[in-house]
Structures are given as structure tokens and as C-alpha cells.
């Protein structure tokens, strides 16, 4: 179409914001070279029913995801912040977490798990399903097969209509691989109340 001075197609899938159907997008998923063919399942039963893994692998993967779920889940200091990204029925208080400045910690529920082919069930990771929707409503726009993210924020793309998924290798990195005890928080942002950050 000649030398356009503008972007060709724009897909905007903002987490926490309604995904808008802009003009037909031909986005085909991440193009990084370290992708792993994986499978995404919402339960151990669904995993076993797929026939791609045996029952024991599925159960081990599911259990591993559940075990790391508390560490992995994205955390929020308010129910509203959590619900801005995930569904209202999913967000709940994390009972074991140390409150931050008196505030409870809120996390979304685990929506499923991903097993990476060839790397074994030990590297399964939990996933969370976002709920883009109109402000003030409960029903999510996204179809049931999309909007999955790992705890570290890697988007897990479903390919085709089955359980196959594409996820980057980094999604399997342990969430606490470089964690460190936090002495204190809130040391940035003091000028927020007084003036605008914008220019």
C-alpha cells in the first residue's frame, strides 16, 4: 500500500481494560526464539482427558502449580486493584501474607496450569485468567480460552482450539528466583499528592 507513515495494525489487549476489537489484527503470538510448546489445562482431570500426559504427570503438575501458587500469584494491596484485572469472584485475601502497612494482600485464584513439553511436570507453572470488562460490570469480554498469564506476567497464548499453548521459557523461571527480604516500602511517591507527574 505504498510507504505508509503509520502503524499497520494495532492490537491493544490491555490487562485490566476491555480488549477492543480494532480492525482485523493479524497478530500471531510472540516471536521470541525461546518459546516452548506447552499445554494449558484448567484441572488435572482435563489434563488427563487430553491424552497427552498420563494421570500421574497431570497430578504432579497440578500439585506443583498449587504449591507455587501462593508465591506466584500477582499481589495487590486492595480488592479493587485485583478486581481491575481479574474477575470479582477470583480475587481473595491471601491469609498467610504479612500485611503491608496494615493492608491485607489480595490475589486472584489460580485458573489453571501450564506443562511444558519435554521439560517435565516439575516445571509446571500456575496461570491466572484476566477479566477485561466494562467498568461496573461483572461479565468478562474475553472468551474462556484467552487472557491467561503466569505469575510473572508472561502471556500464555492458546494456539488452535485445544489445550496447546505457547509460552516463553522465562515463564517457567521460579517466581522467587531472585527474591530478597524487603525492609520497608513506600520510599518513593511522596510528591504524588501535591503535583502532577505529567509533562
Amino acid at each position: 500500500m505504498g510507504d505508509r507513515k503509520r502503524s499497520h495494525n494495532i492490537l491493544v489487549g490491555l490487562v485490566g481494560v476491555g480488549a477492543v476489537a480494532l480492525i482485523a489484527y493479524d497478530y500471531v503470538g510472540p516471536s521470541t526464539s525461546d518459546e516452548i510448546n506447552s499445554n494449558l489445562f484448567t484441572s488435572a482431570d482435563q489434563c488427563a482427558a487430553s491424552g497427552q500426559y498420563d494421570r500421574q504427570q497431570c497430578t504432579m503438575a497440578y500439585d506443583a502449580a498449587v504449591e507455587s501458587n501462593e508465591q506466584s500469584a500477582p499481589r495487590y494491596t486492595s480488592q479493587a486493584d485485583c478486581e481491575a484485572e481479574f474477575s470479582t469472584s477470583s480475587c481473595h485475601v491471601l491469609p498467610a501474607a504479612v500485611p503491608l502497612a496494615g493492608a491485607a494482600v489480595f490475589v486472584p485464584a489460580m485458573a489453571g496450569f501450564v506443562i511444558g513439553s519435554g521439560v517435565g511436570a516439575a516445571l509446571a507453572t500456575p496461570v491466572y485468567q484476566t477479566c477485561p470488562r466494562n467498568p461496573g460490570t461483572q461479565d468478562c469480554y474475553a472468551s474462556s480460552g484467552s487472557g491467561y498469564y503466569t505469575g510473572s506476567g508472561a502471556h500464555v497464548y492458546r494456539t488452535g482450539s485445544g489445550s496447546s499453548a505457547t509460552v516463553s521459557r522465562s515463564a517457567f523461571s521460579a517466581p522467587g528466583s531472585a527474591s530478597s527480604p524487603t525492609l520497608s516500602r513506600g520510599g518513593f511517591g511522596a510528591r504524588a499528592a501535591t503535583v502532577s507527574a505529567r509533562s
Binding site: V15, A154, R185, G189, A190, R198
Partner: protein, 388 residues
């Protein structure tokens, strides 16, 4: 360069709400205004805006080198001394910059003139990159705009490409904005989405949530160490905050990088004029106490070194001064820039916001006001190139 009227798309507010662009009206005053648009020729865009923007950016990179080497300038810029080595290190490493917005005077004829460079926390990104693009596509589809109309706007594509080439490998990129600022949150969410489309792992958090460890590393709410942080929050505020002094431990890669502090300060304008006097795209500019201010003959604009959104800007001209009403900035000092009055298009005064992403001029967003000082009540107007 023309300003033309056009019918508003019937569903544009719904579209804006769906996208999270819910600040299209500020306290009832419209911000996004699609009852009109500007129209440029391709030559005006390429020769009048794009090429000068590219050249100005190169001049700015040279200015960084110049400023970092001169403690007297760093002091003038009110950059705290504990951060000087930290800034120099980020420049030596060539820490990559993501974006910035040059504000230009352009009327379609005379050479574009630089008003200032918003190099740290430029706003109106989403409107420029996405919403005005969609405005064009919708109006082309209904033939409300002539077939063949284009737009100087590949900002979105450039952002994704920039994230792909940031050299982050498998490191997680954290995105932080102030908790209470919904407009900032949209900008940061949009950039995070671009980063994800580029294949990066990302985590969002609020500036206020950032924690610190015993060895001066910074953490998110899951106590994960932040290795790379995009922040929509000014550098000078970070340094002044309680945790600010620990940034010089340099345990976290920042976007924008620390060296950008030399460009997000309006002292840059005086430095550029010093380095490139008489350049066609520059306006004469001096620090306020410079005797050469007298040579501006009482036609100048006085701006605080670290001001925002037109606050504390005073215009001085023969026949009467015009100020936009004060504001909270100016403690660090002022520069004085020769006055170049904005062109009038039917009583509207447009400022061209010329975007650079990863070192490339790649689009513009136009904001116009009813007055000569473009403050935070200016309206965003879309534009086209050509189109019959």
C-alpha cells in the same frame, strides 16, 4: 497546513471507555476533540517535522555528553551531586532510552522551532499512538476522510520494536506509576502491553509499593528483586524521595535511563543554544541570570527548569505580559527563551508534539489551546497527511 472541520464519529466515547481512555474530558471540559483535524502535505511532515526532529535528537545526545562533563552545568540543572557518577555511568553504558516528545512550533512554512523536550515523562502517548490512529481508520472506512489519507504515526509499531531490542533477554520488566493517577496508569498499561507483545515478561506495580532490601536493591510486592524498571514518575522526584539516595547503588536498570535527566531539564534549551547558536530549529535561550537575556528585547518566555504542563510560565512581550497563573514550580531556577508566537488557525494555537521512540522520529500528536500558553487544558486534535 490546514485545520478542517469533520463530523465526530457517533461511537467515539464508547470506544474510548472500552479502551480505558476515560480522561477524554477533564471536569466536563473536552480534552479529545475530533470535531476538527489538521492536514499536512507529505513534504511538510517529512521535511518540516520529521527531519528536524531527528536532527534535534542527535543534537540532544551531543548535549548529554557536554552536560555530564561539566559539574557547573549539573549544578545549574539542580541535579544532586550524589547522582552525578550514577548518571555518568548510565551514559557510559549507553543505557537505552525508550521515548520522548519534542514540543515544536510549526505552521507549515517556517522552519519548526523547539519549545522544549519532554524527555522523562511525556504524556498523551496513548492518544497519539492508538486513539488518533483508530480515528483515521474509522473515518477512512466510512469515507468521512478522503481515500489515501495517511497519518504520521508509527509510534505503536516502534514501541513494540524498541522493547524487542532492549536487550532484556529473560529479565522481567516492571512497570510503575503512581497509584492514584488513572491517566498515568493507562499510559503504563499500554506500554506494558507493548512490552508483552514484544515477548517480554512484565509485572505492574505502583511507585508507592516499591520496597528496599538491606543491600539497596528494590523489590515488588512479591519481594521479587526488580532488575529493570519502567517508571512513569519524574527522576528529580525519585532522587528527592526517601529511597532516592539508594538509587546510586545502581542495582536496577531504569527506563528512562538516568542520563535522560540532562534532557528533561529546560536548562537543556540554554545548552543547545550555546552549542548550536543560530540553528534553524532552535530559539535563543539563556539561563535567567545571563546578561544576553537583555538581547531578547523584552520578547521572551520565562520557564522553570523543572516545570510541568505549562505551570509557572510567563510570557513577556511589548504591550503586555501574559502569564498562565502561576503554579508550584520554579525553586530550581528559570531559563528565558525567545518568544515565537504560536500560529493561529481560526483562533486555535497548535503545538506539535513530535515523538521519538528508540532514537527514531515516528509520529506526532497535536494539542491546541485558545491561548498562547499550552497548559493542561489544551485539546488533542488528530491529523492526516494528504488525502486528495
Amino acid at each position: 497546513m490546514q485545520r478542517l472541520a469533520i463530523a465526530e464519529r457517533p461511537n467515539w466515547r464508547e470506544q474510548a471507555n472500552n479502551l480505558g481512555f476515560d480522561f477524554y474530558a477533564v471536569d466536563g471540559t473536552p480534552y479529545w476533540n475530533e470535531s476538527a483535524y489538521y492536514r499536512f502535505t507529505l513534504a511538510q511532515i517529512e521535511e518540516g517535522i520529521e527531519a528536524p526532529t531527528q536532527e534535534l535528537l542527535q543534537m540532544c545526545y551531543q548535549a548529554v555528553e557536554h552536560i555530564i562533563a561539566r559539574p557547573e552545568l549539573l549544578r545549574r540543572f539542580a541535579i544532586p551531586e550524589f547522582a552525578w557518577d550514577y548518571i555518568a555511568a548510565s551514559w557510559r553504558r549507553q543505557d537505552k532510552d525508550l521515548y520522548g516528545r519534542f514540543d515544536l512550533r510549526y505552521d507549515g512554512r517556517a522552519p519548526a522551532k523547539l519549545f522544549e523536550f519532554n524527555a522523562d515523562t511525556p504524556t498523551s502517548l496513548f492518544e497519539a499512538a492508538v486513539f488518533q490512529w483508530q480515528w483515521l481508520e474509522d473515518n477512512l472506512a466510512t469515507a468521512a476522510l478522503p481515500a489515501g489519507a495517511d497519518q504520521f504515526n508509527s509510534i505503536h509499531d516502534r514501541l513494540i520494536d524498541a522493547f524487542r531490542h532492549f536487550g532484556l533477554d529473560r529479565r522481567t520488566l516492571h512497570f510503575a506509576a503512581l497509584r492514584a493517577e488513572s491517566e498515568d496508569r493507562l499510559t503504563v498499561d499500554y506500554l506494558e502491553d507493548c512490552a508483552r507483545q514484544a515477548g517480554l515478561a512484565t509485572v505492574a506495580l505502583s511507585i508507592e509499593d516499591i520496597g528496599i532490601t538491606a543491600d539497596e536493591r528494590f523489590t515488588d510486592l512479591n519481594d521479587r528483586v526488580i532488575t529493570d524498571l519502567f517508571k512513569l514518575y519524574p527522576w528529580e522526584w525519585l532522587l528527592a524521595d526517601d529511597f532516592g539516595k539508594h538509587l546510586s547503588a545502581d542495582t536496577m536498570r531504569m527506563i528512562e535511563p538516568a542520563w535522560k535527566m540532562t534532557l528533561s531539564n529546560k536548562g537543556l534549551l540554554a545548552v543547545l543554544w550555546e552549542m548550536f547558536p543560530g540553528h534553524a530549529n532552535l530559539l535563543p535561550a539563556f539561563f535567567e541570570d545571563d546578561p544576553r537575556v537583555a538581547g531578547l528585547s523584552g520578547r521572551h518566555v520565562r520557564k522553570p527548569l523543572l516545570g510541568r504542563e505549562g505551570s509557572n510560565v510567563d510570557i513577556v512581550r511589548p504591550g503586555g505580559a501574559a502569564s498562565n497563573g502561576g503554579g508550584p514550580y520554579g525553586d530550581e531556577g528559570f531559563i528565558v527563551q525567545a518568544l515565537a508566537e504560536l500560529p493561529s488557525f481560526g483562533g486555535k494555537y497548535p503545538v506539535i508534539g513530535s515523538w521519538v521512540v528508540a532514537g527514531h522520529a515516528c509520529g506526532i500528536g497535536i494539542r491546541e489551546a485558545d491561548t498562547l500558553v499550552t497548559g493542561n487544558t489544551a485539546q488533542f486534535i488528530p491529523h492526516i497527511i494528504g488525502g486528495g
